[in-house]
Each structure stands twice: as C-alpha cells, then as structure tokens.
Assembly symmetry: C2
Homo-oligomer: 230 residues x 2
DNA sequence: ACACAATATTCATCAGATGACTTGTGAAAA
DNA sequence: TTTTCACAAGTCATCTGATGAATATTGTGT
C-alpha cells in the first residue's frame, strides 16, 4: 500500500474507531505523520483527499479537525463536481430529482406546519411579482429547498440542493421564451403549494414530478451553455 | 486564494473548457505546476483532492489522467465515505433508497426484457436455495442492482449501489433471527419479481418500497456493529 | 479586569533529491 | 520476420528541510 493510502486508511480507522471524533482537533502534522509512519508530505496529501470528501478540515494556523460527518454537510462540498458533469448526466440527475422531490413533497404535505405554509406562500407571491431572473432563480431554489426540509430528511435535502445547483447555471428563466417559462413555472408552484395546503401527499407528489419534468423539458429544449464563473 | 485552491481551480477550468478532456493525459507534474504557478507539492495536493472526488487519476510511472467524469463512475469512489457515516444518517439513506429503488423498479417493470427476467429468476432461485449469508448478501445486492440497471439511469444505479454498500456491512442475515430475515426477504424478492413479470410498474414500486422498508426495520431492530475491514 | 503586544503553535508552501514504476526502444535470439 | 528481453527515458511517489503565514496563547502593563 502506498504511503498516502496508508495515511488515509489510518485516519479513516482513527475516525471509525472514535479515536478521532467528529469536530475534534487532530494532533499536529508532524506528530500524526510519525504515528502513521509516513512523511509530512504524504500525510498532507491524505488530509487533502479527506478534506475534498468533506471528512476533515484544515484551518491555517489553528489545526486540522474532523468534520461533522453529517451527509447533508458533506454533500455541500460536491458542488464543484456537479459543475463538470457532462450534459447527459445532468439529465439523469433530473430523473432522480423527480423521484426524490416528489417523495419529499408528499412528506411535506403530510406534516406541513403553519410556518412552512407561510414561507411557501410568501415565496410564491414574490416569484409571481417579479421578472428578474436572478431573483426568481433564488426564490425558486428556496421554494424547493423549504419543501425538502419539511420532508424531514436532511440527507435528501442536501442531495437535492446539490443536484439543483447545476441546473441553476443554465438560467432557463433568461431564455428566449423566458416569459412562458416563468408563467408555467409559477403555475407549477401554485399546484404544489395548493396540494400541501390541502395536506394531499399524492397530489403534492404528482405536482412536483410534473414541475421537475417541465424544468427538464426546457433544459433539453434550450440547452443553453452553462455559465462557468471563476 | 491559496496555492492548492489556485491549482484546483486551474485544473477544473482546464477540464471544464475542454483543454483537458475526459480520459486525456495531463502534462507532467513539473510542467503543470509551472503553468499554474504553484509548486509541485501544492499541485500534487490539488491532484490528490480531485482524485478523491473521482475527477482525476494518477498512475505511478505513467502519468496523470482525467477520469471519465461519469457520475456513476465517480460515485464508486465514495464508498469510503459512506462507511463512516453515523448510524442515524444511514437510516436517512434508507428513506432515499425506498424512494429511488421504487422508482427504478417501476421503470424496470415497464421496460423489462427477457434477459432481465431470466437473470432475476435465477438470482431469486439461488437466494432461496442457500442459507450462506455471504452468498445471499451478494445475490441480494446483484438483484437490486440489476433492477436499477434496467431502470436505465446509470447515475441512480451508482447512487443506490453506494448507499447499499454500508448496509451490507451490518450483515442482518447473520443476526439472531437470520432464518426469519431470509424468509421475509425472499418473499419480498418474489413480490418484486412477479410485479416485473406482470409489467406492473405500480406494484413493482410498492413491493420494492415495502422490501426496503423491511430491511430498514431489521437494521433498526438489531443495529449490529458494523464490520470494519482494513 | 481589560487591552494589547510578544511568543508559541500550527498549517501552507516551496525547493531539491532520491526511489519506484511504466513505457517505449532497440538489439538479440528464434 | 517475429518474438523476447534488457535498458533507458519519462513520470509519479516519497522524503527531508527550510521558510512563510495565520491563529492561539501567554504575559504584561494599565
């Protein structure tokens, strides 16, 4: 086994065994490298790899820490990854969104609270009141996220937020038929919202599936070039 | 921006722009480091991070290559991650499995082929014929994977295989009520199989949801310690 | 008790040297 | 001609040591 693999396995073992608990500070690089029997360079590469996976976090001047290990938290680090997926794969993500967001919407409808309904009402009203595509995109993202959160599964919520992040770069609200897109999108949100108001999980699920499918349709139709910032 | 971040962004940009295409070989470390304006050490850490994310692959003595960038392929690298998730998070993964595998099973039922049916028949027959828990675990995994594959979404298939990988470590077939577990599990597989034979997507979905829920129930009940190898 | 400066700890980066592995080349043998 | 083998070049892997930068701690003076 290579030195870096040795270090990664060693760290993984320390974490899995509880010797290094989530949030805990690790020994300094030099000491840790000695413990694991590798050089500081190799240990640093191992830590860098685990950092990329969201398992550890190195803070300059302070130390290296084990992260929370919550899937929802870890998923946030993968946005960079989704950005470079090929277009066809993005379409596969939409199918997954369709299934999972429907599921979450049904759960949200079953357990909705006045607070959730109030927030969703406000978001939909704001979306219908503006034509600024950036604002709409933000409101739309929050609308879907709030429903996922209400579903009660933080991992699912994180996964959906991650998958949506790529779609947002395509800015379908800015396309040639932007007005039409907004109109149908608003209608979709209304349908979902009403189903949740009625505490109707089945309708919430089908409305959400239809809405996501609609987004997918537009994305396929326009297939605008993604905006790569940075 | 730190040196390693600079290198990662640079590599990401080269990949996103197509300068480095999937499968392509990168320039040697020294040259790449010079291009990006960082030291070899920093570049190596960046490459190590991208390797952990499944975006690149360094082959000793040969060179560094850009990976296929297929989500299904990239997901395979995350098994290490799922291994260290806290137990409660694993339960959240089961809810996701329930939704997604149901979806895939419905799709598989709608588009099943004689080849798929033949394989599933054989897998179920073998599972019913043995009591070896390791074999059963393998066959069970293949059964679910084959159905996901038939669903036609490679990303979804990869995601499910990843999520299942953690559950397998718990070896519920070896628990105190192993015989009972096997019996109910086999019944669940029969139900799913028959629904697919009948080309009945709705039944396939509900049978799959019930089967996954059953697995989740047992896992909660026994909560056996995971076997950490390595 | 508080503010602030000095000190210590720790990660970040760089440079250079050496080892290990892969690959292609060319010569020798079949 | 084809196959086999040794060798050399190219490349990644690892280690060491030194220096810089950010943070945490300590001590001091008010």
């Amino acid at each position: 086994m290579s030195a870096v693999e040795t270090a990664m396995q060693g760290l993984r073992a320390k974490i899995a065994s509880g010797e290094l608990a989530p949030g805990q500070k690790c020994p300094p690089e030099g000491e840790l490298a000695a413990q694991l029997g590798v050089s500081r360079s190799s240990l640093r590469e191992a830590i860098r790899a685990l950092s990329a996976l969201g398992v550890m976090e190195a803070r300059h001047g302070s130390g290296t820490y084990v992260s929370s290990l919550e899937p929802a938290e870890i998923l946030k680090g993968f946005a960079l990854l989704v950005d470079i997926f090929p277009f066809d794969s993005v379409l596969e993500l939409f199918e997954i969104r369709r299934a999972l967001e429907s599921h979450a919407a049904a759960a949200a409808a079953a357990r909705s609270t006045p607070e959730l309904l109030a927030e969703l009402d406000e978001l939909v009203a704001k979306m219908e009141a503006t034509e600024n595509s950036a604002d709409i995109s933000d409101l739309d993202a929050r609308f879907h996220e709030a429903i996922c959160e209400a579903g009660g599964n933080a991992t699912l919520t994180g996964l959906m937020t991650l998958f949506r992040s790529r779609g947002r770069h395509f800015n379908i609200f800015d396309s040639a038929e932007g007005a039409k897109v907004r109109e149908v999108s608003n209608k979709g949100h209304r349908d979902i919202l009403e189903a949740i108001h009625r505490r109707d999980p089945a309708s919430a699920a089908t409305a959400t599936a239809a809405h996501v499918a609609q987004s997918e349709f537009w994305l396929k139709k326009f297939r605008p070039a993604p905006q790569l910032e940075g």
